[in-house]
Homo-oligomer: 207 residues x 2
DNA sequence: CGGCTACTATGACCGCTGTCATAGTCGACC
DNA sequence: GGTCGACTATGACAGCGGTCATAGTAGCCG
């Protein structure tokens, strides 16, 4: 959530993501997006001839890229990088936001996934690629910490799933408890995966 | 889900939950709910004088009770109850549904949480109590399996968070992979919490 | 200047939403 | 039968949704 002085088009995509993650897709109107972005209403059909569907999809894609970018920053912020540290940083972004701005917003990708009836199937695909865009850097970071590549992708899925669910519950309860809880509970499991050679395979094979 | 021959009121609540978990709250119209429930449109204002908000809240509450009820059934279905077995059963309900009916629906509580702009704050509270209603039996089941009571609630939160997130990702990707992945990855952690006396406290204190 | 392109500005259209108002039906009870 | 209550049936209303159509402006190029 950074620079506000970009082109109107970019501002509208950003505003769309902001509104979607607060209200959901259907409840967010295009006029509202334009107003929130201080952009002229006439620009909507000019920049997004594909209509609301295109705007929503771009907002979701933007959110995916944003999440991926954040992973790199979180890594840079850890002086001794561990999986649990990365996960804690990812969750901390949400606890911080909730402490500062209240529990008004969630993840735009989650909102789009839940609310993809209005926008056609393309929005669901956009959400899927957004999740993949996000999961990539997380898995990469895990391998960089010594997690076997086979498990890295699984653990990245676990981390993102858990985080999304915790965001959901935290928003519902208006309490960061779910976020802090999953960080504490999942941390040991994540760190245990580093440096284990065939131990990881053993666990996986135990099934 | 189950019995279709109940009173019209109950059918409407059930249909509302069904439609909400497919389309989201805002995208689901009241006329649509009545039609889906084969209920007369005039009954809407009669049974739900509180309007859409009341209907949505009751649907969410119903979903919470339903999830709680399912936990008991899952427990009964396990011949040797373990935390990982319970979690796997919870996830299997979703993989089964997705295999049978496609990835069209998610969790109604999640949908209501994301999309609570139209309905006022009461819907958010309904979602919070639904999560609590769900978490209760899960935590209780865990303590019954030997998990220390202090950790049981945390692990229940972890299980539900992870499951909700995995449902989300599975729906987006149209693939049950996230669900199966989190079951495999989380299983050992959950089972490790059974029967540990002060080991659990040690982990928690290590922080 | 003319012409072109990028962008902006409105206004209108149609469909759908939740909600209210009114009238109608049905069945039980005295 | 008469009356009351629960329930059903429509119709209308006001508002907002996305989208199309049309006209307008600004700036650059030749």
């Amino acid at each position: 959530m950074t620079q506000a002085r970009r082109g109107p088009r970019e501002r509208m995509v950003f505003s769309a993501a902001q509104l979607i993650r607060r209200q959901g897709v259907t409840a967010t109107g295009m006029r509202e997006v334009a107003a929130h972005a201080d952009a002229p209403r006439g620009s909507l059909q000019h920049y997004f001839p594909g209509g609301k569907e295109q705007l929503v999809n771009e907002a979701v894609a933007w959110a995916g890229r944003y999440a991926a970018r954040r992973v790199a920053r979180f890594l840079a912020g850890l002086d001794r990088p561990t999986p649990s540290g990365l996960f804690a940083a990812m969750a901390a972004q949400w606890t911080d936001e909730y402490a500062a701005d209240g529990f008004t917003a969630g993840c735009p990708v989650a909102a789009a996934t839940v609310d993809c009836a209005t926008s056609g199937d393309s929005t669901r695909e956009a959400a899927a690629t957004a999740f993949a865009t996000w999961r990539g850097p997380v898995a990469e970071a895990l391998t960089g910490m010594g997690v076997p590549p086979v498990r890295a992708d699984s653990l990245a899925t676990l981390m993102i799933s858990t985080l999304e669910g915790a965001i959901l519950m935290a928003r519902a309860e208006r309490d960061v408890r779910p976020l802090t809880t999953v960080v504490e509970e999942l941390g040991p499991l994540l760190d245990a995966a580093t440096g284990e050679g065939r131990a990881g395979e053993a666990i996986a094979a135990a099934d």
